[in-house]
Amino acid sequence: EAGVAQSPRYKIIEKRQSVAFWCNPISGHATLYWYQQILGQGPKLLIQFQNNGVVDDSQLPKDRFSAERLKGVDSTLKIQPAKLEDSAVYLCASSFVGQETQYFGPGTRLLVL
């Protein structure tokens, strides 16, 4: 079974530029999560979708971050404009509805200069 796919794996941008990350969850997983993992910390949830609806975006910095999951499958996370403190690994995870176990993708490592 294919796992959670993410791209790109690495991205280097300058501050104030924009960047987008893509995630394709495991087939059949209706719930999708985006986490931010800053160096030396555990992952922190940014946004959670169930199908194409937002379940929790309470920790998403909405002035610069946005995310969508238009068809209830793939998802994109965008940062515009990026700040130095956005340097982190952005992880996508997915799960079946009603299932507690989340499966993680390889992440996108972002460096903002």
Binding site: G3, Y35, G40, Q41, P43, Q48, Q50, G98, Q99
Partner: protein, 114 residues
Amino acid sequence: AQSVSQHNHHVILSEAASLELGCNYSYGGTVNLFWYVQYPGQHLQLLLKYFSGDPLVKGIKGFEAEFIKSKFSFNLRKPSVQWSDTAEYFCAVNQNFGNEKLTFGTGTRLTIIP
């Protein structure tokens, strides 16, 4: 708000030594508990999980964890570590409502010396 504490930031052991990594959480309700592992260059993988029932849970690769409700703890153990166990270990918790977000600890880096 729930939180997770992992007190050991970096643990260094020799092969065949016994391992115990601490994890404490703060939340008064019913929780699910997880240990995830991240091997060098790889993505987060589930090591084991506790939802209910027997508080001693066994996971992959000889790992186990014990849920002690009175201590709000879910420590990870392995009787004899191998060099291949070198990785970062994260404890996580979510509320037992279904599809709830995970709250992670800061992780413990484990280095095994051959």
